[in-house]
């Protein structure tokens, strides 16, 4: 993985580019439109996997967000994948270089008539050809890196709570939030109303407490309101809180308990929504409690997109005490995976829930998922042989983008931490890898 700066400017650039992609997709032979949706996750790289379907996957540098798009062959005018028996073709390219091909979308929409993406096993280039007006043809030969398969394990079916609404409904609901707002809390209020509330980091303690209280009283207007008045001295006083309440009737499905609430990054959510809105799709949100990943899914007949976002953990005053009860709850769900090693992670339910596999090409195990991990306790995401320098390079680069440990936790590397849980809670995600190096 490459180093990439995770400053917001870049993020904005990416997401801006991204959502305008849909119109272009319509003129492209292979519509990479939605693929670029992945960029909103501030990714270092994009994995393309040419199988029966084209899959585009990416994970952000702090590994708190993952996206995966699958394109049915019919999405394209022509789609030719590797023949059965061959190794599937895949590559991982810098998101930056992929986006540079589509730098000026306005221009592209005007001039590009079709787009052809090709990759063959022999050449070490991903070739993107744009056929433009006046017979002009642009050919980009993009270099890519050693292939890795990026796979997150997630299953919407095990999430107890489900919301489904036209993207427009949610898109309009997030519109009033200030652009700089980092996180938003999604919860279920009384009468199955869906509530979106800005999450203030400065008022973190107060907000969390408020959320807790709100949850107890069922997120209604009658009980104690957020922010709590209990602590007038802290910064909560100066913070503005925006709350949107949407009636359950605007949703196609509300299957959630009153009082549940999760907090996740708004930026990624916005990007996802604007894509789903331009595509006029419905968005399904599958979620569990705080700290557990939320799955956002969009689907139509030609494409299938999943975003997995980390959610903010509840304040955890006695982490050791809470371990035990949690241990019991996820266990039955996990059996659905029927992967033998999962028990090793049962202590950490996120990690048993989602595991990233990054292995080099040719390692057949890369697609058979977690069961191949030789020493799950230490490095379940990666076989020792594939623990290349490249992987190590990732680690420093993820540090700036890594959220504070108490907040979002890595969806993918968390499991590495399992044996190292210290009383002070999760340590920085990246520490363990060097240990696993030996």
């Amino acid at each position: 993985m490459e180093k990439i700066s995770s400053d917001w400017k870049e993020r904005e650039g990416f997401s801006r580019r991204w959502w305008k992609w849909r119109p272009l997709g319509q003129v492209c032979e292979q519509k990479p439109a939605t693929g670029l949706g992945l960029t909103l996750l501030v990714t270092a790289s994009l994995s393309l996997l040419f199988l029966a379907q084209l899959s585009l996957r990416t994970v952000n540098s702090s590994r708190s967000a993952y996206a995966c798009f699958l394109f049915a062959p019919l999405f394209f005018q022509q789609y030719q994948a590797a023949t059965p028996g061959q190794d599937p073709l895949r590559c991982k390219i810098l998101m930056k270089s992929f986006l540079s091909v589509f730098r000026s979308l306005a221009m592209l929409e005007k001039t590009v008539e079709k787009c052809c993406i090709s990759l063959n096993g022999r050449s070490s280039r991903l070739v993107v050809q744009l056929y433009c007006k006046y017979g002009v043809r642009k050919t980009h030969n993009l270099s890519f890196q050693d292939c890795e398969s990026l796979q997150a394990v997630f299953d919407p079916a095990v999430c107890p709570h489900v919301l489904c609404a036209p993207a427009r409904v949610l898109g309009e609901a997030v519109l009033p939030f200030p652009p700089a707002l980092a996180e938003v809390t999604l919860g279920i209020g009384r009468g199955q109303r869906v509530i979106l509330r800005s999450y203030q980091e400065e008022a973190g303690e107060g907000a969390r407490r408020g959320l807790g209280q709100g949850a107890e009283v069922g997120w209604d207007g009658a009980g104690p309101r957020f922010p709590p008045v209990a602590d007038p001295t802290d910064s909560a006083a100066k913070a503005m809180v925006t709350e949107m309440s949407i009636g359950g009737e605007d949703f196609q499905q509300v299957q959630a308990q009153e009082g549940v609430a999760i907090t996740f990054c708004l930026k990624e959510f916005r990007g996802l929504l604007s894509f789903a809105e331009t595509a006029n799709l419905s968005l399904s949100i599958y979620f569990d409690g705080p700290g557990r990943p939320a799955i956002f899914a969009i689907k139509d007949s030609l494409l299938d997109g999943h975003f997995v976002l980390a959610t903010l953990s509840e304040p955890d005053p006695h982490p050791q005490d809470l371990r035990a009860p949690e241990l019991q709850r996820p266990a039955p769900q996990l059996q659905a995976h029927s992967t033998p090693h999962l028990d090793d992670f049962a202590l950490d339910d996120i990690d048993s829930y989602m595991i990233a596999m990054e292995t080099t090409v040719g390692s057949e195990g890369s697609r058979t998922l977690p069961s191949t991990s030789p020493s799950p306790g230490l490095q379940p995401h990666c076989s020792p042989g594939s623990h290349s320098e490249e992987e190590d390079d990732t680690e420093p680069s993820t540090v700036p983008g890594t959220p504070p440990p108490k907040k979002f936790r890595s969806l993918f590397f968390g499991s590495v931490l399992a044996p190292a849980h210290s009383p002070q809670g999760p340590s920085p995600v990246l520490a363990e890898d060097s240990e696993g190096e030996g």
């Binding site: 810098l94 930056k96 270089s97 540079s100 730098r103 000026s104 221009m107 001039t111 280039r125 991903l126 006046y134 017979g135 002009v136 043809r137 642009k138 050919t139 980009h140 030969n141 993009l142 270099s143």
Partner: protein, 331 residues
């Protein structure tokens, strides 16, 4: 105390009482010397003469003493062309009776020339056979756009430009809506400019394209590439622009029968590389132009000629010359 803006507005009222003060028009604000009273000027033709060109004549009564006098109803016809070559601070100006040529160079490898022919000016007089001076182009452009660089409907800025000769500043009189600004820009010792010796008889390949087709290509050049490789060939790929950047290589192919192609005269396959950092500034000219002629000679030197149509529909030319970077490695 009168500002320049008031100066012309009040000129008729105060016309009778002007007296000569030192010709300080470097600043728009009246200097300390003028603070005591109005900014007085004496018109040589007499106190009641109309307030038309007082500044011009007050210093040098005889216009014939100027080695260069040029006036223009719409200053943008000049400033636009100069912007097309503004990639370095300083420019050398050559004026002959045919017009003015302004030259900007960089790294002894690239040269841009803007030709402003005498016909663009409403008045154009050169006393000597040729007049040459070097000037800070940035300042010149700042002065030319002192009334704003974007056009306001219905208002034009008029320019009168005078140069007295070697060692004297270039004087600019700009007038808009009755307001006159006087600028004096010090001139510098002219430097010798490069002679690219680009002779049309040595031209091997020549392509004329509608600028529209190149505009996007140049604005999106992969600047992580050190060079821009230009392939011109009578056979495929006919005309190709290539970059070799961090992300990989890119090729942009123009078929010879494309509607963008006005003329295609390629005799021999030529592949030359040019420093992208040197060619990138030509985007400024490209953006303004309607057509571009791309020529390479037997040494691989590149000539880019841009045809620019000004607001009055007149045609001007801007030309870029560039040396090839190095021999293309055989691969």
């Amino acid at each position: 105390m009168v500002t320049v803006a008031e100066l012309s507005g009040q000129s008729e009222k105060s016309g009778g009482s002007r007296s000569t003060s030192s010709p300080v028009f470097r600043e728009l604000r009246p200097g300390p010397a003028q603070r005591s009273g109005c900014w007085h000027l004496e018109h040589p033709s007499g106190p009641n003469a109309p307030w038309t060109m007082p500044l011009l004549t007050q210093q040098i009564p005889d216009e014939n003493d100027y080695s260069l006098v040029a006036s223009l109803d719409n200053v943008r016809n000049l400033s636009t062309i100069l912007k097309a070559i503004h990639f370095r601070e300083h420019a050398t100006c050559f004026a002959t009776k045919n017009g003015i040529k302004v030259t900007v160079e960089n790294a002894k490898c690239v040269q841009a020339n803007a030709f402003i022919q005498a016909g663009i000016f409403q008045e154009f007089r050169v006393q000597e056979e040729s007049v040459t001076f070097r000037i800070n182009l940035t300042i010149l452009l700042d002065c030319l756009s002192i009334f704003g660089s974007s056009p306001m409907p219905g208002t034009l800025t008029a320019l009168r430009m005078c140069y007295q000769g070697y060692g004297y500043p270039l004087m600019l009189f700009l007038e808009e809506g009755g307001v006159v600004t006087v600028c004096k820009i010090n001139t510098q010792e002219p430097e010798e400019t490069l002679d690219f010796d680009f002779c049309s008889t040595n031209v091997i390949n020549k392509i004329i394209l509608q600028s529209e087709g190149l505009r996007e290509a140049f604005s999106e050049l992969d600047m992580t590439s050190e060079v821009l490789q230009i392939t011109m060939s009578p056979d495929k790929p006919y005309f190709r622009l290539s970059t070799f950047g961090n992300a990989g290589s890119s090729h942009l192919d123009y078929p010879k029968d494309s509607d963008l192609m006005e003329s295609f005269q390629c005799n021999q396959t030529q592949v030359n590389r040019y420093k992208i950092s040197l060619l990138k500034p030509s985007t400024k000219a490209l953006v303004l132009s309607c057509k571009v002629s791309i020529r390479t000679d037997n040494r691989g030197f590149l000539s880019l000629q841009y045809m620019i149509r000004n607001e009055d529909g007149q045609i001007c030319f801007v030309e870029y010359y560039c040396c090839p970077d190095e021999e293309v490695p055989e691969s």
